[in-house]
């Protein structure tokens, strides 16, 4: 945050998004280079949509500062607020909001027409976009005649056709069913890769963020709690929310060499020595479950009670309550073999070398 005043010339978008409404307040700083894709990841109510609205100029009265390509769009201190229609943005709304009385071609041509291109030229561009998103021949269809995936692609084309500097995607895949989502996500990634401007993707889906973005900003309750590359965020979560999203056990504690005393009670031994406050991460599949105290090489063994059993892909995920609590993935055979059920007392073990540790 301290670097907010130092403008980074390489960034196309510099934004300090500030808004206070009732008892919710948002204060998030984003920097995106040209061609960069930033995912704003967070739970419902974290302020993601508010952030998008500020960037699009759709939120009246806020204390934000937004600069795009060296031009100031918002500056609360000098009272600058460029109206939405004068911002070079493209927005894909969660439910797309395609104009129902216009066909796919005219939906895509709309932004070009609004900026003064003549009808024939705008339609030619729209047709080339239809081809780019794989919807050749669908130009005459109204939105009601398009599937969810097709409507999504029209919405993307509509947002990109006027070649905006800033592309905003609000939960772009949330309205799709699981089967369609995978294909559309892959297509979307390609369109974003070809896009020269800056992109902000708002999502609460970790996979969307990991696949689409090259920079992830995690926000909770209006504040940035973690940011970094998808690899950083997925491998080194810093909050319980992120850990849960990426499916990891996250423990917080104080390290003395390879020994870590956990904040919630319990103790773990790691392979890498560190000192001071640390995070320790354990993959659920690296934790083993036993009915008896295990013999063997694991340095970390503790007792816990099974509190939940849930199918999780081709594995079964156990929630176990102990010191510390942990999620454990086991095979279906193991469930039968060990007779695991809610309430069962078990022993958990994890090798020191299977634990990742990094400073808090």
């Amino acid at each position: 945050m301290s670097a907010a005043t130092v403008a980074d010339r390489d960034n196309l978008v510099e934004a300090n998004l500030v808004s206070t409404r009732g008892n919710f307040d948002l204060d998030v700083t984003l920097r995106i280079p040209a061609g960069g894709v930033l995912a704003l990841l967070g739970p419902n109510g974290a302020g993601k949509s508010t952030a998008l609205q500020i960037l699009a100029g759709l939120l009246a009265r806020n204390g934000s500062t937004v600069t795009v390509g060296g031009t100031t769009w918002d500056d609360a201190s000098s009272g600058i607020r460029r109206p939405t229609e004068e911002r070079s943005v493209g927005v894909v709304f969660q439910d797309y909001l395609l104009f129902p009385r216009l066909n796919a071609r005219d939906n895509i041509a709309f932004g070009l027409r609004a900026r003064g291109l003549d009808k024939a030229a705008a339609r030619r561009v729209a047709d080339s976009w239809l081809a780019r998103v794989g919807l050749e021949g669908f130009g005459d269809r109204r939105p009601a005649g398009l599937s969810g995936g097709q409507a999504q692609r029209v919405a993307i084309a509509r947002a990109l056709a006027p070649e905006p500097q800033l592309l905003l995607l609000d939960e772009p895949l949330a309205a799709l069913d699981a089967g369609t989502r995978m294909n559309v996500r892959t297509d979307l990634r390609q369109h974003l890769a070809a896009f020269g401007g800056a992109t902000v993707v708002v999502t609460h889906d970790a996979l969307d963020a990991l696949v689409l973005a090259d920079q992830i900003v995690v926000i909770e309750a209006g504040r940035v709690v973690q940011q970094g590359t998808p690899r950083d965020v997925a491998g080194k979560p810093r909050t319980r929310y992120v850990a849960q999203l990426v499916g990891l056990n996250l423990f917080r504690g104080k390290a003395t060499g390879t020994s870590v005393d956990l904040d919630g009670g319990g103790h773990l031994v790691t392979a890498q020595p560190l000192d001071g406050p640390v995070f320790v991460v354990a993959r659920p599949r690296d934790i083993a479950v036993h009915r008896e105290h295990p013999e063997g090489s694991s340095r970390n063994v503790w007792q816990a009670a099974v509190t939940n059993v849930e199918q999780h892909g081709d594995l079964v995920r156990l929630a176990a309550s102990g010191r510390p609590d942990a999620f454990v993935d086991v095979t279906a055979e193991a469930i039968a073999e060990l007779d695991l059920a809610v309430g069962r007392q078990v022993w958990l073990s994890v090798k020191a070398t299977a634990l990742d540790v990094y400073p808090d």
Binding site: A56, G57, L58, P83, T84, E85, E86, R87, V89, G90, V91, F93, L97, F99, P100, R101, L102, F110, G111, R113, A114, R115, R158, A159, P162
Partner: protein
């Protein structure tokens, strides 16, 4: 016991409710009450003389005048009424309720009173009429334009109510979408809002037109009844009733046919619950 009660919904969905027999009797009487006059009109109609009665020059002149004035009134109502509906639906301002009440007032005001109010405003000695007369030499009462004014006054609220309803049903986020694509407010109104409002405006316009076509009280008060210039069909029906009842019936029949045609045209919108 409690568990069972909770598992059963209070009213099972999609199940016909038993209607008390006491409801059917007044319902039937009411329907007959509405239907009988129409049947009477059909039975009493002088079918053999019909071509002669409605084919005459006077009737054709009155019918053409009615259609022309009702259509003009509808056009004026669209031009003025759609913006009124927009402001009422989308602009927050103090006293909006009062303005809405005033705009809707002609719906409930007896048309004769409306005609008198029009005379006081737009008559040659009226507040605005005096100025119109002294400045431009224009006098509205007892002219065809006066008929249009009277019909617009009475019929426009129908259009305003219908269009305001459709505007409220529109997702205002479409305006935001258009703005993010660089569309000015006017461009958005022209190419996004108006097309989506189309059906609502059409329905309101038909209602407005039908009301204007049947206008009597305000028209006769404000515009009088001069054949060729202000004597519309309803006025002619009334006058015919005094000396040629058969002609009155025949003319009513023509108006009934026009009304049924309108209903048929709107069946998809209003005849489905």
């Amino acid at each position: 016991m409690t568990d069972l009660a909770q598992s059963l919904p209070l009213v099972p969905p999609h199940r016909k409710v038993h209607t008390p027999y006491g409801i059917f009797v007044p319902a039937l009487i009411g329907a007959a009450f509405l239907l009988l006059p129409l049947i009477g009109l059909l039975v009493q109609a002088p079918w053999r003389d019909l071509p002669g009665l409605i084919g005459g020059q006077a009737v054709r002149t009155a019918l053409r005048l009615s259609l022309e004035t009702a259509t003009s009134a509808t056009v004026v109502a669209i031009i003025l009424g759609v913006p009124i509906a927009w402001v009422l639906a989308r602009v927050e301002f103090r006293g909006r309720g009062v303005v809405r009440a005033l705009v809707i007032l002609p719906l409930v005001l007896p048309p004769v009173a409306g005609g008198i109010a029009l005379l006081l405003a737009y008559g040659r000695h009226g507040v605005v009429g005096q100025w119109l007369w002294s400045t431009f030499g224009i006098s509205l009462p007892f002219t065809t334009v006066g008929v249009v004014v009277a019909e617009t006054f009475v019929a426009m609220p129908f259009l305003v109510v219908a269009v305001e309803g459709s505007l409220r049903g529109l997702d205002p986020r479409f305006d935001q979408v258009a703005a993010t694509m660089g569309a000015s407010r006017w461009f958005t109104f022209r190419y996004v809002t108006l097309p989506m409002l189309g059906p609502g405006i059409a329905a309101g316009a038909v209602l407005c037109w039908a009301r204007a076509l049947g206008e009597f009280g305000a028209t006769i008060t404000f515009a009088g009844s001069y054949p060729g210039t202000t004597q519309t069909m309803p006025l002619q029906v009334y006058l015919a009733l005094q000396d040629n009842p058969d002609a009155a019936i025949a003319l009513s029949l023509v108006l009934l046919v026009v009304s049924v045609a309108i209903l048929a045209g709107l069946r998809d919108r209003w005849l489905r619950p």
